[in-house]
């Protein structure tokens, strides 16, 4: 198991943002965290990568507790998100090399990897442009390249397709598939249902900080008695008692 989350809990003031969440992601698996805004997806991921400290529970990456030994846990990690920015005044190449070297690659290896991942993501031509001059889609490609420039065994992607057009989204999907084919463990969050259905081996449905359903997309749909994940999602997003009832039934 490459990502292991047990009883993870995070409280902001009086609100439980993440409430006893358990799941794991294996090598060669794409796991989708799905849920409406405010469900706790981003907080879960931030707890996993060690940007936030959990109030209870553990998150392990490659068996390493990300709270106890954050540096060793992070070393195995590639992280990117829709909200993660690039250094505007650096060229794409410089940003990639900087990241690679922070992870311990030497100068020559970092330069080589920067070109390699950029080529894979169709961002080769962008390498010598300043990040501030890139479009949203181009930024996302460079961001993904940055997350994998050090070739980490674990990828954590927080809404990488948020705000992207269809074409750009497809690049992200291709990237995730390739990573799976190379036996990486990918944790992925989105609220685009179609994307989740197509891409994920398993999904976890988060609602109000709790994991309310988990399994292969088809199995989850069946359990909620819905035709599509979209319906499941809508049921949850509409919230209120209806959502709760369905959750109760499904469980």
């Amino acid at each position: 198991m490459t990502i292991e989350i047990r009883g993870l809990t995070k409280r902001f003031g009086s609100v439980l943002a993440v409430d006893g969440v358990d799941f794991e992601v294996r090598r060669g698996e794409v796991y989708g965290l799905i849920g409406p805004n405010g469900a706790g997806k981003t907080t879960t991921m931030r707890l996993l990568v060690g940007l936030l400290r959990p109030d209870a529970g553990v998150a392990r990456i490659g068996g390493v507790d990300s709270t106890r030994d954050p540096l060793a846990a992070r070393a195995q990690l590639g992280f990117h998100g829709g909200s993660v920015g690039l250094y505007p005044r650096l060229r794409a190449r410089e940003a990639l090399i900087y990241q690679a070297r922070l992870y311990g690659l030497d100068a020559a290896e970092a330069a080589r990897r920067a070109e390699e991942v950029a080529a894979e993501l169709g961002a080769y031509d962008l390498l010598d442009r300043r990040c501030e001059a890139l479009s949203a889609g181009q930024k996302q490609r460079v961001g993904l390249a940055r997350a994998s420039v050090h070739d980490p065994p674990v990828l954590v992607l927080d809404e990488p397709t948020a705000g992207l057009d269809v074409l750009a989204s497809r690049f992200v999907a291709d990237y995730v598939r390739k990573a799976r084919d190379r036996q990486r463990a990918v944790l992925f969050s989105t609220h685009y249902m179609t994307e989740a259905e197509l891409l994920c081996d398993r999904i976890g449905l988060l609602h109000r900080g709790r994991l309310v359903a988990e399994g292969a997309p088809a199995a989850v749909k069946e359990r909620f008695g819905c035709e599509t994940l979209e319906e499941v999602f809508l049921g949850l997003a509409e919230g209120g008692e209806g959502g709760e009832d369905r959750t109760e039934r499904a469980l």
Partner: protein, 679 residues
């Protein structure tokens, strides 16, 4: 999968340094401040000044002075006045006409010669020559000075003639001849002047250089959303902060160096332009070696202030918030530099340990060439420790989750870090509401990914005094008091004080409250306190003057006694018995109690209410002490300020403090009269 071994600490620092420097040097704003400003500023100022002075001098020379002479023709005097054609003679009918001409500015100076001057000269008497001029007219004063010089020369000639006639030697009229010589070489004098001016300049320039990079590398990184990716990298925070610190220090050092170079160049050119007149006239020479020593002093100065600015900027979530935070810090940091300019303050065992002051004094010591090596070492070690402490704070705060994702969390606000469990539930509620409002306004980058926005019951946002506003008001008050209040008080102590309190102090406060549309009750703590607070204030007021009067002033007397003349003058002004007591009590007790409390325990304290209690008390006490503009009264007024701050915080109201302040001052005024201190 490549085997990943995290890089060494030094490697990370170096890596971050290179990357941040690259990025910083691509920032136009930083480049402007660092390079263009110093390169353009001083030469422009220098050239402008030189031209202005030159033009003035030219105008003076070109003008022929008009001198009216009343009385009989005194040939030798007339010749002296009109020497080199610098003046033109007029002969008004009498003194009256001459004064009229002077008033109408037809003449610059009137010379009145007594009618029987020739006889008096012959009899060896003194001839009284009267010079009439208009002090408000520059030409008149200048002409007076020049003509006096000419007359002095004439007197010397006449004296020599008299002595020769009497058969006396030339030394007869000069029983003592004084010659003087300063053992300081022109170079020493130059060093002395530079040692006064340069430390201040260096600190200001270093601060200016550090300002934008410090913000850009911390709050800027948060605002652009790049911090998450950086913090997820497997490197220690202190190493990241170390790299950033080196960049800010480098930029600050270069800004300092370029400014210094530019100043040096301008001075050199100006000195050259004056054709060496500077050396001849003032006996001043620029010691280039001293300038070189300043270069050495820049580095520790830059390191210290860079670390401080980084630590403070790390507290902010956005560029704008960081600017608001750093502006008052900038002013506070300038203070030690200004302090180091004061005569009599030297690098000693104590001052070598005072952060900020010590580096400014070190600079001064290096320039004047009078640095004690041991103290220099102490300064460097102390500064390194302070800088490291600041960096550790910066590294800790930098990834504090409350600051990182504060925009999304329920209890936001950069001061969330300092939130204390307050006994004052009222104030706490305000703080929360303010923080929520701040989170909404300052979120910026955090806005679009606010998945986890969880809020308590929504409260109406309360507009509060921010530190920048308070600093502005305080500076305005200080400037008004220095420029207007002090001169007024020296003319009429009571009238001046009344104007100072009710206009110069209260007006800026009123302007702030009005234009920032602050709710008066909150911004100034204008609310009813508990009854017990009144009682406490009265009690403290009755005792406070005694504590201040005995303990603090005893200590003051011991370590920094006020010069006797100054003390007596103050007593004479404050405790004069010819004024009605009621007027004095109103001007010296009630007015300061109301106006100063509204400013210090209202606006200023309100802007710092999220700091821990000790910091509120300390900052308010220091500012209140400085406000009184006297190093001799600093300790006692600061102590008073500390007590008043405690009262205001504890009671949650400005009113008990006013009562305390009024009682304290009233007792002092009455006592001063009773004891007859007014003389």
């Amino acid at each position: 999968m490549s085997p990943i071994s995290p890089p060494s600490l030094a490697a990370v620092v170096w890596l971050v340094f290179k990357k941040e420097l690259t990025e910083t040097l691509r920032d136009r704003r930083t480049l402007m401040v660092m390079i263009l400003l110093p390169l353009a500023l001083y030469p422009l100022i220098g050239v402008g000044m030189a031209q202005f002075v030159g033009a003035q001098r030219q105008a003076q020379k070109a003008r022929v002075a008009q001198v009216g002479v009343v009385g009989p023709a005194f040939t030798a005097l007339d010749a002296a006045i009109t020497r080199e054609g610098l003046a033109q003679l007029h002969r008004p009918k009498d003194r009256e006409h001459a004064v009229e001409a002077l008033k109408a500015r037809r003449v610059d100076l009137v010379v009145v010669v007594p009618s029987e001057y020739a006889m008096m000269l012959r009899d060896g008497e003194s001839v009284e020559v009267e010079l009439l001029y208009d002090k408000t007219v520059d030409h008149s004063t200048n002409t007076l000075e020049r003509i006096r010089e000419e007359i002095r020369a004439l007197v010397a000639d006449l004296l020599a003639a008299r002595q020769a006639e009497a058969g006396l030697p030339p030394s007869f009229s000069r029983p003592i001849v004084v010659t003087r010589e300063s053992i300081a070489s022109p170079r020493d004098v130059g060093g002395f002047v530079l040692a006064r001016v340069l430390p201040f300049l260096v600190v200001m320039m270093v601060l200016l250089g550090a300002f934008y990079p410090a913000i850009d590398l911390t709050a800027g990184e948060k605002e652009r959303g790049t911090l998450e990716a950086l913090l997820v990298a497997p490197v220690p925070r202190l190493a990241l902060m170390g790299g950033k610190f080196l960049v800010v220090t480098t930029i600050a050092t270069f800004t300092g160096l370029l400014n210094l170079g530019s100043v040096g160049l301008t001075v050199a050119l100006a000195a050259d332009g004056l054709g060496g007149k500077l050396q001849a006239a003032g006996g001043l020479e620029i010691p280039w070696s001293a300038l070189a020593m300043t270069v050495v002093a820049i580095l520790p100065t830059a390191a210290f202030f860079s670390a401080v600015m980084l630590a403070v900027a790390s507290l902010a979530r956005s560029f704008k918030e960081a600017q608001n935070l750093l502006t008052p810090v900038y002013l506070i940091c300038a203070l030690p530099a200004a302090l180091a300019q004061l005569p009599g303050i030297e690098l000693g065992v104590v001052t070598a340990l005072v952060p900020g002051v010590n580096v400014a004094l070190l600079t001064r010591g290096l320039i004047s060439g009078q640095l004690h090596l041991g103290l220099g070492a102490v300064t460097l070690i102390a500064t390194s420790v302070y800088a490291l402490l600041a960096l550790m704070v910066a590294a800790r705060v930098f990834d504090s989750e409350r600051l990182l994702f504060a925009a999304e969390g329920s209890k936001g606000g950069f001061m969330a870090l300092f939130r204390r469990r307050s006994r004052d539930a009222d104030a706490d509620a305000d703080a929360d509401a303010g923080a929520d409002a701040g989170a909404g306004a300052g979120a910026g980058a955090g806005e679009d990914d606010g998945h986890e926005v969880v809020r308590n019951s929504p409260r109406l946002p309360i507009r509060e005094v921010d530190p920048g506003q308070a600093a502005m008001v305080l500076m305005a008050v200080m400037a008004l008091v220095v420029l207007v209040g002090t001169p007024l008080q020296s003319r009429n102590i009571i009238g001046g004080l009344l104007v100072t309190e009710w206009v110069l102090i209260l007006m800026p406060v009123a302007v702030l409250v009005f234009f920032a549309r602050l709710p008066v009750a909150d911004a100034l703590r204008w609310r009813r306190p508990a009854h017990v607070a009144w009682a406490g204030a009265i009690l403290a007021g009755l005792v406070g003057w005694y504590v201040v009067g005995t303990l603090v002033e005893q200590l003051q007397e011991r370590f920094l006694p006020m010069p006797k003349e100054m003390l007596e003058a103050m007593h004479r002004a404050l405790f004069a018995t010819q004024r009605p007591l009621a007027l004095d009590l109103f001007a010296l007790a009630i007015s300061p109690a109301i106006c100063e409390e509204l400013l210090f325990r209202g606006v200023v304290l309100r802007s710092s209410h999220r700091l821990p209690l000790w910091a509120q008390v300390a900052s308010n006490a220091v500012l209140f002490g400085l406000f009184h503009l006297s190093i001799y009264r600093f300790a006692s007024t600061a102590a008073l300020g500390a007590v008043l701050t405690l009262i205001a915080v504890r009671s949650g109201s400005v009113l008990p403090g006013m009562l305390f302040h009024a009682i304290n001052n009233a007792i002092a005024v009455t006592l001063g009269r009773v004891l007859g201190l007014g003389g």
